[in-house]
C-alpha cells in the first residue's frame, strides 16, 4: 500500500492505495464521486475522462498513484456556486444528451478543449471529441453544445 494525496475538485484527499488501483476506481469507489463513468474499461470510449493537471485523460488508463500530488477535476467540480458552467448549460440548451452516459466525459474533454480554443470550428470540435463515444445523439447536438459554450465564453469570460 502507498499513501497518496490527490486534490480533487479543489479538495485534498489523502488515502492508502494499492499501486494497481486505477484512478477511475479511486474516484468512484474511494471518493464516491460517481459522476465519472466506466464504459468500455479498455481505453476506447472516453466515458471515464477527467482533467488531470489541466489535461483531459482517460482515468481508466492511469493509476491513482500517478495522480499523487496532482490536481484532478471531475464532472462534479464543474458547477460553481450552484450554477452550471457554460458547457453544461450548452448541453442542457442544445439537447446534447439522451441517455447521458457519455456526458461527463464529453464535458471534461470540452473543459480542456475550450480553454485552449475560444473560437473552434465545427471540424476542430469533432476532432476534439473523437476520443469520446456517444451511442445516442449522433453527435450533432454535442457539437452545438460546444458551440453554445464557446459563444458564451467569448461573451462572458471564463467558466
Amino acid at each position: 500500500m502507498a499513501a497518496i494525496n490527490v486534490k480533487v475538485n479543489g479538495v485534498d484527499h489523502k488515502a492508502e492505495v494499492e499501486p494497481r488501483l486505477l484512478l477511475v476506481h479511486f474516484i468512484r469507489e474511494v471518493l464516491r464521486l460517481t459522476g465519472t463513468h466506466i464504459g468500455c474499461d479498455t481505453s476506447h470510449c472516453g466515458a471515464c475522462t477527467v482533467v488531470l493537471d489541466g489535461r483531459a485523460v482517460k482515468s481508466c488508463t492511469v493509476f491513482a498513484i500517478q495522480a499523487d500530488g496532482r490536481e484532478v477535476l471531475t464532472v462534479e467540480g464543474l458547477e460553481q456556486d450552484g450554477k452550471l458552467n457554460h458547457l453544461q448549460e450548452g448541453f442542457f440548451q442544445e439537447h446534447g444528451l439522451q441517455c447521458g452516459f457519455c456526458t461527463p466525459g464529453m464535458l471534461m474533454t470540452g473543459y480542456e478543449f475550450l480553454k485552449n480554443n475560444a473560437e473552434p470550428s465545427e471540424d476542430e470540435i469533432r476532432h476534439a471529441i473523437s476520443g469520446n463515444l456517444c451511442r445516442c445523439t449522433g453527435y450533432v447536438n454535442i457539437v452545438k453544445a460546444y458551440q453554445y459554450a464557446a459563444q458564451k465564453m467569448r461573451e462572458g469570460g471564463a467558466q
Partner: protein, 292 residues
C-alpha cells in the same frame, strides 16, 4: 479489469531509474504514458512484478533543436508534439503522424518515445522515424548509446533496448532545404491502428532530382516496421514525375509483408501501400515547394 499486483517506484532522476532497472532486471517495466502498458496489464497480457514510473523525472519533456538535430525527450506527449510551433513549422510529417495516433485523450498521456519503445509494428511513429533517419538515444548502466532507428526493431514486439536501458531521447537530423515529408494512414475509425500507413521524406537537389537522403517507412504491414529500402534506392537521383512515382509505389508495395486479419486481406493491404506511397510522395513534393 484489474491488473495483477505490483511494486511501484517513481525515481526522481535518470540515474536512480537506471540503478533500479539494473537491480530488478527483467522483473521491471518502465511506465511512461501508460497508454499501451496499462491496457495490457488490465488484460493481464503483461504482469510486471515491478513498475518503474519515469514520469516524476524532471527535464525530460523538451522538444528542441540542437547540434543539427531535433530532439524529443522521453516525456514529450503526443499532444505536445502536435502543439509545438517548432514541429508544426519544420516537421509537418510529425504532425501528420501524431494527429492520427489514437485520440486526443490518449495523446495527452502517450509519449513519442514510448511509441517506439513499445516495439509494436502497428504503431505509427516507427515508420515516420525510419523515413526521417532518426536515432534513438538509450541510457543504461553502461552509459549512453545511439541506435539508428533502422536497427531498433529486430523482431515482433522487440526493440534494441536492454531491460536496464531507458529510451531517453529521439534525435532527428534537421533536414536540408528543399525537403518535404508526409505520413498517410488508412484507419477504419479514429483510434484504430493502421490498416496500412506510409511515411515519405524526400530532398530535392538544384536540378529537382531526388537526393540520396530519401526515406520511406511502412506501418503495420509486417512483423516489424519496414524501411522500404528498394523503393528508397529507386527514387535516388530520379526526377519524380508521374511514372517514377508509380514505379516507386509499386516497389514499396512489393517490400510489404502484410497478413490477412480483421483489417483486410493481405492483397488489399499491399495495394493500399502502393496507393498511400504514391500519395505520400506527391504530398511530400508539394511540401518541398512550400505547400502544407
Amino acid at each position: 479489469m484489474i491488473p495483477r499486483s505490483f511494486e511501484y517506484s517513481a525515481p526522481g532522476t535518470l540515474d536512480e531509474a537506471v540503478a533500479l532497472l539494473q537491480k530488478l532486471g527483467s522483473d521491471a517495466k518502465i511506465l511512461s504514458g501508460g497508454q499501451s502498458l496499462i491496457p495490457m496489464m488490465k488484460l493481464r497480457l503483461a504482469s510486471p512484478p515491478h513498475i518503474v514510473d519515469i514520469n516524476r523525472i524532471p527535464g525530460l519533456d523538451y522538444i528542441t533543436e540542437k547540434d543539427g538535430f531535433l530532439r524529443i525527450g522521453a516525456l514529450v506527449r503526443e499532444s505536445d508534439l502536435e502543439r509545438s510551433e517548432l514541429v508544426r513549422s519544420r516537421f509537418p510529417i510529425l504532425v501528420d503522424t501524431t494527429s492520427v495516433i489514437a485520440d486526443p485523450l490518449v495523446r495527452n498521456q502517450a509519449t513519442v518515445c514510448g511509441n517506439l519503445a513499445h516495439g509494436d509494428p502497428a504503431n505509427d511513429h516507427p515508420a515516420t522515424m525510419l523515413a526521417l533517419g532518426a536515432i534513438v538515444v538509450a541510457v543504461g548502466p553502461r552509459g549512453e548509446r545511439d541506435v539508428p532507428v533502422e536497427n531498433f526493431f529486430p523482431a515482433l514486439f522487440t526493440t534494441a533496448l536492454e531491460a536496464d536501458e531507458i529510451l531517453r531521447e529521439i534525435k532527428i537530423p534537421i533536414p536540408p532545404p528543399s525537403t518535404g515529408g508526409a505520413y498517410l494512414k488508412l484507419e477504419r475509425k479514429v483510434g484504430d491502428y493502421a490498416t496500412a500507413g506510409v511515411a515519405v521524406q524526400i530532398t530535392l537537389n538544384n536540378s529537382g532530382a531526388c537526393t540520396a537522403a530519401a526515406g520511406i517507412g511502412l506501418t503495420n504491414v509486417g512483423f516489424t516496421p519496414i524501411k522500404a529500402v528498394k523503393a528508397e534506392a529507386f527514387v535516388k537521383g530520379k526526377q519524380l514525375d508521374q511514372a517514377a512515382v508509380k514505379q516507386a509505389s509499386e516497389i514499396a508495395a512489393g517490400e510489404s509483408h502484410p497478413v490477412d486479419d480483421i483489417r483486410g486481406p493481405a492483397d488489399y493491404k499491399r495495394d493500399l501501400v502502393r496507393v498511400l506511397t504514391a500519395r505520400a510522395i506527391v504530398r511530400a513534393l508539394e511540401r518541398v515547394k512550400g505547400g502544407v
